[in-house]
């Protein structure tokens, strides 16, 4: 991705809009970690509920009351073990989970006083303590001699690989990108995972041993599913969503500075020096999900002056959680609902604005409502959803449904020896934590199948 100024000079694209120290602060930790005393006091707020609603709300069913009680009693490593037993990516989930819609929404203290126990913060406290020891809390079972291929080193793939390795299987993980950890590495706002956390967590997971990583290897290009299924005892597909949706507007592919938000976030995450990363003065983000918010907030934090999220439906319909929307707004991002893009404007081959029509719902259908309006833009980011890629599987693809891989409860695909999970499967929540659960369940099923 490369943002450029136009020849006429109307597109205001520049790097280093903010002094380096301000950039550093903007992309530092969004929530500083709890210290020992804070963690203990917060942990004591937990009521240790029976059949705890928070645990029921967790896609990976972490025993939350138990790990919090362990923290309260000065046993953070025991707490970490409790967390990691259910979710080996508990560290990342503590940072990126929409806890306000999962465990913390279910917390009885939310019902009682509107102030749930800070489960996410406590989880991070415990897992950070474990990672700080530099040790890995699991030992591998005796080698089984079985080999499993995992395609995709994102949350689903890593969770699956770890569980398989602990069970004594040898695992080879393939990933098309140069670095592992998938969206954790490339797709999440920097201030949620500072200090290279995605890579550190991945290294922590791999330190169990028995997992070989092969990066730069893409399914359908460098390896074929059929071959994997032949060469390995089982295959797990954690491919993510390699494609992005298009606006379908003229100029989308030809005008400069109309970019895919996912690519922008990835570039930002991989940038060695944020002061050299260009951004427009006026940024328009089209979409209403987490990706839109991550792109908008990070644009703002890079120094963009006017950042607008334009969404075709109402604020309540946005996939970004209320917490995420508030984060956008407190970062000075303008959220403009009921705005559907109908045209891109450019100058000298470079985008200069977006034309929207106002919308409203009539009998459940979105209709145009009133005169169009125009937002000036130096950069336009599209964040209107990602798509699976059905063309990676060669002659015998697994059964697909709506562009995604169909699976059963154990995460088996329609192909023998092939399991799948994460964003690439049908029915996913598009959450890291859900991907981890898929990987974990698939691993259990594979272990049972290979036993």
């Amino acid at each position: 991705m490369a943002l450029v100024a136009d020849a006429g000079g109307s597109a205001d694209i520049a790097a280093g809009r903010l002094p380096p120290e301000e950039l550093k602060a903007n992309f530092g930790d969004l929530h500083p970690p709890l210290d020992v005393h804070e963690a203990r006091v917060e942990a004591e707020r937990c009521y240790f509920c029976y059949d705890a609603p928070c645990q029921q709300a967790c896609p990976t069913a972490i025993d939350i009351p138990l790990f919090i009680r362990e923290i309260a009693n000065a046993n953070p490593l025991g707490a970490a073990k409790t967390i990691l037993d259910s979710n080996i990516l508990g560290g990342m989930c503590a940072r990126v989970c929409p806890t306000e819609e999962l465990c913390e929404e279910a917390c009885v203290r939310e019902a009682a006083e509107g102030k749930p126990v800070k489960i996410g913060h406590l989880q991070r406290y415990a897992v950070d303590a474990q990672m700080a020891t530099g040790k890995h809390p699991y030992a591998r079972a005796a080698a089984t001699g079985k080999k499993v291929a995992v395609v995709g080193a994102g949350p689903a793939g890593l969770a699956c690989a770890h569980a398989l390795s602990v069970a004594g299987h040898d695992v080879v993980v393939y990933d098309a990108r140069p670095k592992i950890a998938g969206l954790n590495e490339y797709g999440i706002a920097a201030y949620k995972t500072p200090d290279d956390f995605a890579a550190r967590e991945a290294a922590f997971i791999l330190s169990v041993g028995g997992i070989e990583i092969k990066t730069g290897v893409a399914l359908g290009r460098d390896i074929a599913l059929e071959t994997l299924a032949k060469e390995y005892d089982a295959v797990f597909l954690g491919l993510g969503l390699p494609g992005v949706n298009k606006l379908g507007l003229p100029g989308e592919d030809t005008l400069k500075n109309v970019e895919d938000a996912v690519a922008f976030i990835a570039d930002l995450r991989q940038a060695k020096d944020l002061s050299r990363l260009p951004i427009g003065r006026r940024v328009v983000v089209i979409g209403g999900g987490m990706t839109a918010v991550d792109a908008a907030v990070q644009s703002k934090r890079l120094g963009a002056e006017l950042v607008t999220i334009a969404y075709r439906r109402g604020v309540e319909d946005m996939k970004a959680s209320p917490y995420e929307r508030e984060l956008a707004q407190t970062n000075g991002v303008n959220i403009r609902p009921w705005a559907r893009p109908i045209g891109l404007e450019g100058h000298d081959g470079v985008v200069s604005g977006v034309v929207f029509e106002r919308t409203r719902l009539v009998d459940g259908k979105l209709v145009a409502d009133g005169a169009p309006f125009r937002l000036e833009a130096d950069v336009v980011f599209t964040a209107i959803g990602q798509t699976g890629a059905g063309d990676l599987f060669g002659a015998t693809p697994p059964k697909m449904q709506g562009g995604k891989i169909a699976i059963d409860a154990e995460r088996r695909t329609s192909l023998a020896k092939v399991w799948a999970g994460g964003d690439c499967v049908v029915g996913g929540l598009d959450l890291t934590v859900a991907a981890v659960e898929d990987g974990k369940r698939a691993a259990r099923s594979i272990i049972a199948a290979l036993a």
Binding site: Y47, C49, Y50, A72, V108, R109
Partner: protein, 436 residues
């Protein structure tokens, strides 16, 4: 209009809040600060006999048990009696009493169990014009190893003997401070009364070790590699003190003996509770050592508001009001039936009541109704034990309802049976025998 003034053994005090004999009452500066803050009286830190000064440890002398938010739940000390010179103490006591005539000033004493030693110090204290003396028969550490403090308080005969000497050799009112480190508090109290004590004060501290440092494998209060038990006080000891005060208040032999109550008094409510069990005033230490002298202002204000609300104009109006309600188990009405009831509007569905009852009591709370998370009492199993009420994090969400109409599904007996206690119960072998 509420009047907090008390006259305890004729010792006048503007309110019932005294500072107990302890570090806060060790010297004139502190006592005067306390009086300025509003304390009604003090019991001056225990004086010993003239001679080489007492030596305290130079390592830590205090320990504590904390709640998770570092709130102090219990306190522990191994400090000895005053380590200041007797003459300086006496001089300061005299000055303070002269400058603060409206406040109570009692002097705590501890000398060896020899009549002469007591005679000598009593004469000296009398010269200060202090309002009275308190005999420290309670200190459970250090001094007790030398035959004083709780070593005396654990032998009723010694209590009686020393008390008698004090009454013989002094005109001052004598308060005997009791140790709780005994099996039956009535014995030392009776002994004090037999010796002529004007009052008892209790409880002194309880033998305790607050914790072990598991890295060093030493006591958490570690003095150069070793530790020793101290005396525990603070909020956690209040229930023990309440019970002991009530025993003395309702014992046939000691009923009516004035009591100065000590033990975990931290708020006005604690004080009111002790007074309702018969105490004429309360003594405080840990609360002051935790928060400073200002805490008395909350106590004064809270007690006044309480009395105003209840229509009590003086401490005497409600002093001892709860004493007749304390009885022995055998006299409890076994036909009084309560059942737990859960208020579904305030229930936050934490399920603690269910799991506590299910795992450890009577399996009397259902966790689900029609497959939905909802906690409901099964009256056919509920024995009214109160456990659910106590573990519920929401105040007043679970209540015990007194049943008076209908039949108890648990026992098949009607609810409104006449009162019957164990002494009248057919299952009591003694009753059965008598009926034969």
């Amino acid at each position: 209009m509420v009047d907090l003034r008390t006259s305890f053994l004729g010792i006048k005090s503007p309110n019932p809040f005294w500072l107990a004999s302890a570090p806060p009452t060790d010297r004139k500066t502190n006592v005067e600060r306390a009086f300025r803050a509003g304390w009604g009286g003090v019991v001056w830190k225990t004086l010993g006999e003239a001679g080489p000064p007492v030596v305290n440890v130079s390592g830590p002398r205090y320990g504590a048990m904390h709640g998770p938010d570092r709130r102090l739940i219990a306190f522990n000390n191994i400090e000895l009696i005053t380590d200041r010179d007797l003459e300086i103490n006496l001089q300061e006591i005299k000055q303070v009493k002269r400058e603060w005539p409206d406040r109570a000033l009692v002097v705590s004493l501890m000398v060896p169990c020899e009549e002469d030693a007591w005679k000598k110090i009593l004469a000296r204290v009398e010269e200060t014009e202090a309002d009275g003396i308190e005999l420290n028969f309670g200190c459970p550490h250090g001094m007790s190893e030398r035959g004083m403090g709780s070593a005396v308080g654990q032998v009723p005969e010694y209590i009686e003997m020393v008390t008698r000497w004090c009454k013989q050799h002094s005109r001052m009112p004598v308060i005997v401070k009791l140790t709780p480190n005994i099996t039956d508090i009535r014995r030392p109290a009776r002994a004090a009364k037999a010796g002529g004590a004007d009052a008892v004060s209790l409880i002194n501290t309880i033998n305790s070790i607050t914790g072990i440092d598991l890295d060093k494998m030493t006591l958490d209060v570690d003095i150069g590699g070793k530790g020793t038990h101290g005396g525990m006080c603070g909020p956690a000891v209040k229930p023990i003190a309440l019970s002991m005060v009530s025993e003395i208040a309702r014992d046939a032999e000691t009923a009516g003996l004035p009591i100065s109550a000590i033990g975990g008094v931290t708020t006005w409510k604690d004080a009111a509770e002790f007074i309702s069990l018969g105490a004429g005033n309360v003594q405080v230490c840990t609360a002051a050592m935790t928060y400073g002298f200002k805490v008395v202002q909350e106590m004064i204000s809270g007690l006044s508001q309480f009395m105003e609300r209840k229509g009590y104009s003086s401490i005497e109006d409600f002093r001892g009001a709860a004493v007749p309600k304390v009885t022995d188990w055998q006299y409890l009405n076994l036909n009084y039936v309560v059942k737990a009831e859960i208020n579904q509007d305030t229930c936050i569905k934490c399920g603690r009541c269910h799991i506590a009852c299910e795992d450890t009591s009577h399996q009397a709370i259902w966790p689900k109704v029609d497959g939905v998370r909802k906690f409901v009492v099964n009256e056919a199993e509920c024995v009214g034990c109160n456990l659910c009420v106590l573990v519920c994090p929401v105040e007043n969400c679970i209540t015990l309802v007194h049943k008076t109409e209908g039949t108890d599904p648990r026992t098949g007996q009607p609810y409104n049976q006449p009162a019957r206690n164990w002494t009248q119960h057919p299952n009591n072998p003694a009753v059965f025998k008598a009926a034969e």
